[in-house]
Symmetry: C2
Subunit: 389 residues, 2 copies
C-alpha cells in the first residue's frame, strides 16, 4: 500500500484550505445525505439496493452503505471483489462476464470464502461457454455451497447479454443443470439509458427494458424455473426501474458522489435530489492575460464524459475549464463579471464522470463541514483502484 | 505497495499467452530498439536528451535510459520526482510550475538530497511570485548548493510560460538575484505541435518556437546573463528542435512506447522510426451477432487522444474498437474479410495515448521474444503512478 499521498495530501483534523492539490475530496455531509435519500427511496419503493462499487472502489464506503440498508454490493471485476472482500465486505455480485480460467478459479475460491463468512458471491453469465467454464472452476474448487448466477440479457444497451426471451431461457436452464450453480435471476442493465439528456428518452428506454425483462421472466417461469430476482438500473433511471414492479434490486452507484455529466441531464421530478459530493481540489499555478492554468489535468479526473466544471462560483462569475493535457487545466473568464483567478488560488472542480475519476486516485479525502471552512475527518483508501483483472 | 496485480497478472518466466487481462504489456525488444534509435539520434545531432518520465513513471526504466546516454529525466510533479529519487534517480528536472508552499519545501529538501547524492534538481518558473516562493523555500531549507531554475516561455502552446523576449529577461534577472537559485536557461516546449497531423504544420510550429527561443536567449545574453541551455521538444517534433542549433536538450518521452495517436500522424522523413512497444492485452468476454465485447475499457487505457486500435491483424481482417465504457470495449468486424473474434480470444490493443494509459496501471509486464510466443522477462513497477501533487 502506498503511504506517500496519505501523508502528503492531507492530515486528519487539518482545515480544508491546507489540503494539497490536485486531490480528490469528498464532502462527507453531502455524501451522507445522498445515502439517506437513496435508503429512503428504496424503502418507499420496497426495492433492494445493491450499489455498484465499481464507482467508489472502497471497502470503507461499502460498509457505510450497508449500515444504511444496502443489500450487498456489485462489482465489475474479480479483483474488485477480492479487494472489497479483504476489507470486510461479504455479499458481492460480479455483474459482468468472466471467461479466463485463472479468474474463474479465483471466483470459485472467493465464493467459498464468502459463504464461510456468512455472505455470498454472485456472478453474471451470457453464454453456454461461460456457464461451462464457471461450472468447471466450481467443480475444481469443490465448494459445496455453489455460486449464485444471473443470466444477463441485453435490454437495449447493445453490449453484453443475450437477447431477451428464448436465448435467456436456454441459458437459465443450462445454469440450473449444474449442481454448483444456482440460478439467481436476470441481470438487465440498460447502461446507455443512464446518460440520455432528456427525461422522456430515459423513460422510453427503460419502459422497453422493463418489458423485455418481464417477458423473459415470464418465459422462464412458464418453463418451470423460478426467477428469484431481476436486477439492474443506475442513478439516471432508478425512478423507472423502482416503479416497474419487475426490478427487485437497484444497482445505482453514482448517486453517492454524482458528477458533471449527471448534472447536465434533465432531472426526473420523482428522482431523489442527489447532490454533488465529489470534487477535485486544484491550484492556479500560472496566469497570463488570456487565461489561468491549474494543476489538474486528465491524470486527476476522467474526461470520457466531458470536462469538469468549476464549482462554487455564481453564474455571472463562472470560470470555464478547458483541456490543458495530462497535468494542466486551462481556465477562461468568459462570463460577464468573471475574472481570471489569482496565482496560487485554490479552486474546486466537479469531475465529468465519477467512476473513472475515483480510479485515478489512491485516496479520497473526506471533509466535514463543507468545502469553505470544513475539516479533514477521514482519509478513505480506494482499495480497488486499478483492480482491473 | 500493492502486491496483488503482480502475482495475479503475470509471473516471470511465464509464456505471453498466460498473462491475465486486461494488462499493460511492454515489448522489451521494441522498447530497447526505440532507446537505441533515440540515443543514436541524439549523438548524431550532438544534443542532450532528458526524456520525460511523466510518460513511463518508472525508476527502473529511467535508469535504463540513463545507461543508454540520457542526461537525467524530466517530471511534471514533485511527487513524481520524489518517487524516481526513491528508486535511485539523481538528476531530475520538474519542467512545470510549482506554487504551493508545502510542495516548495519538498522541492528544497529534494534538491539538497539529490545534490548530496551527486545529482541535481532543476525546476521551471514563469512568474515573479513563483520565483519569490521558491527562493523563500530554499532559504528555509538552507541548502548551500541551491537549485537550477529554467524560465518557461510560451512558444506557441498557450499554456504556461511568459511571452518570449522582455518578460523572460525580467524573470531571468529575478532568478539571478537570489543566492540559492541558479539560472539554468529556458524551458521552451511547444506541446500542441507534437500532435499536429501534417509534418508541414509541425515544422511551421517549431520554426516559430525556435525563433522565439533564439530571440529570447539573445535578449538575456545581451543583458549580460549567460543562458546555459534551451530545453524542450517532444517525440512529434524532435527532428526540428535537434536541427535548430538553439535547443541543447530534447525532452521527448513517448518515443519509448509510442501510441495510436502518434501512429496516425504523418511521419517526418528524418524522424527515427520508433515502433509501438506498449500494448493492452485484452480478452473477448461476450460475442453476439453484431459485435464482440472485450474486457478493456477506459479504466485500462486513456481515451483523451482517441480510442485504441487492435494490433497484429492484417488490414483486410482488421477489427474496429468502439467505446464500451469503463470496463468494456466493443469490437466490430467492418473490414472486408474480418470476422468477429471467438469468445475467450486474446487481443492486443494499441492505446490512443501512452502517458495517461501507463498512469492507470501499477505494473508494466515486460515481454521478451514478441507478443506471439514471447516470455515474461520482468515486471516493472510504475513507481509514480498517481503521483499527482
Amino acid at each position: 500500500m502506498k503511504p506517500l499521498p496519505d501523508a502528503l495530501l492531507a492530515t486528519i483534523g487539518q482545515g480544508v484550505q491546507l489540503i494539497d492539490t490536485p486531490s480528490l475530496v469528498v464532502d462527507l455531509d453531502a455524501m451522507e445525505r445522498n445515502i439517506q435519500r437513496m435508503a429512503d427511496f428504496a424503502r418507499k419503493h420496497r426495492v433492494r439496493w445493491r450499489p455498484h462499487a465499481k464507482m467508489h472502489k472502497s471497502a470503507e464506503i461499502a460498509l457505510l452503505l450497508q449500515q444504511a440498508g444496502a443489500r450487498g454490493h456489485c462489482v465489475q471485476k474479480v479483483a474488485e471483489a477480492e479487494a472489497l472482500a479483504a476489507g470486510g465486505v461479504v455479499d458481492l455480485y460480479i455483474s459482468n462476464q468472466v471467461l479466463a480460467a485463472t479468474k474463474l478459479l479465483r471466483v470459485a475460491r472467493l465464493a467459498a470464502q464468502l459463504t464461510a463468512r456468512g455472505g455470498r458471491l454472485a456472478i453474471a453469465v451470457d453464454s453456454e461457454e461461460g456457464i461451462a467454464r464457471l461450472a468447471e472452476a466450481m467443480d475444481v474448487a469443490g465448494s459445496a455451497d455453489g455460486i449464485h448466477v444471473f443470466v444477463e440479457i441485453d435490454v437495449g444497451q447493445g453490449r453484453c447479454g443475450v437477447p431477451p426471451g428464448a436465448p435467456a431461457l436456454a441459458l437459465a436452464q443450462s445454469v440450473a443443470r449444474h449442481a454448483r450453480l444456482r440460478f439467481a435471476g436476470l441481470q438487465a442493465y440498460q447502461g446507455s439509458a443512464q446518460h440520455l439528456v432528456s427525461a422522456a428518452e430515459r423513460r422510453e428506454a427503460i419502459t422497453a427494458a422493463v418489458r423485455a425483462a418481464e417477458h423473459t421472466r415470464a418465459r422462464i417461469t412458464q418453463a418451470g424455473l423460478a426467477v428469484p430476482l431481476v436486477t439492474g438500473s443506475g442513478t439516471g433511471t432508478l425512478v423507472h426501474e423502482a416503479a416497474s414492479g419487475v426490478f427487485g434490486e437497484l444497482q445505482a452507484g453514482s448517486f453517492l458522489f454524482m458528477d458533471a455529466d449527471y448534472a447536465r441531464n434533465e432531472r426526473e421530478p420523482a428522482q431523489p435530489s442527489f447532490e454533488q459530493a465529489l470534487f477535485v481540489k486544484t491550484q492556479v499555478i500560472s496566469v497570463c492575460d488570456s487565461h489561468a492554468v491549474c494543476d489538474a489535468g486528465h491524470k486527476s479526473h476522467a474526461i470520457d464524459s466531458g470536462l469538469p466544471t468549476v464549482a462554487l462560483l455564481p453564474p455571472e462569475r463562472a470560470l470555464r475549464y478547458a483541456n490543458g493535457g495530462d497535468e494542466h487545466g486551462l481556465l477562461y473568464a468568459d462570463a460577464p463579471q468573471a475574472r481570471l483567478p489569482a496565482l496560487g488560488r485554490m479552486l474546486w472542480l466537479v469531475p465529468g464522470h465519477c467512476d473513472p475519476t475515483v480510479n485515478l486516485h489512491d485516496f479520497l479525502i473526506g471533509v466535514r463541514g463543507g468545502l469553505a471552512t470544513g475539516v479533514v475527518e477521514r482519509i478513505i483508501r480506494v482499495d480497488a483502484r486499478g483492480a482491473l483483472a
